[in-house]
Subunit: 147 residues, 2 copies
Amino acid sequence: MAKPSKENTPITEHLAYLLAQANREINRQLELRLSKEGVPVEQWRILKVLSDGNGHSMGELADAVLLNHPTLTKMIDRMVSDTLVYRVQDPNDRRKVLMFISDRGKVLSRKLNSLAVDQEEHILESYGDKSTSELKRLLESLIDSSN
Amino acid sequence: MAKPSKENTPITEHLAYLLAQANREINRQLELRLSKEGVPVEQWRILKVLSDGNGHSMGELADAVLLNHPTLTKMIDRMVSDTLVYRVQDPNDRRKVLMFISDRGKVLSRKLNSLAVDQEEHILESYGDKSTSELKRLLESLIDSSN
DNA sequence: TTGAAAATATTGAATATTCAACAATTGAAG
DNA sequence: CTTCAATTGTTGAATATTCAATATTTTCAA
């Protein structure tokens, strides 16, 4: 019996493709909601991370919000112009810049969170509680196993 | 007892974020392998879809490979220059353009598939057979429920 | 049959992202 | 101490993506 070859697997069966497709779709939906406040998904992430009130360096932020450094720098430039966040030089390591959320940023962050929560709840409804938490668990473990 | 508020959920617990993170990581790994042939992930997808030998319209292709139309048009322009694919006007509907894979494209496609299969096997090893198929199942069903 | 609306693909301008080079600071070896 | 390598963040040029406008063809209603 011939050993089953994976060479002709349709693209829709590749994990990489399924992840890209699911991510694209969920992201599109989230984008749609956040557009009510005229804010891209990445800015929601940035505000969410910073809303712990602590200072976060650019490198740390870039990791957390899944952007590479130059892209983050330029996005932060815009957010500083919009007075949503501000930069402070790290006194302990003057190479670093610490980012903080402003009061205006906090107000916006609350609105965005509520839009994001809306979406999560919408997913829970149409996709189910069980599937959602199981999917989250598997994704976390995939991410873990990739490091 | 206070009703649990989701407003302060850390970003790492949002499905949208987990999907983005997992997708980024898996995509990065795939990119790394395909870079051996100097080809971006999207071109692998295009070649894979076209390797059924049939003609596919630009719209159909754009859906299948998760690119929007103008981006696809420009990527196809490059691939035509590299003689990996070619355009034919659809005789039944002259608004449409049918894309076909060339012989050179087929040769490249085989190499790319083997690199992609390598990755899937690597994932199976580190992440496990069971988890992988379960994750795929859940992703498919999430995508379904989003349409 | 005609004319307006829809579908399909491309183009060019505006934006955004990425890559490589740079500047500043820190760490660490000699 | 001094010097050289590593770390951190930004910049500018090169690329890539997106949005809006366009051209072409088809569909379909009047």
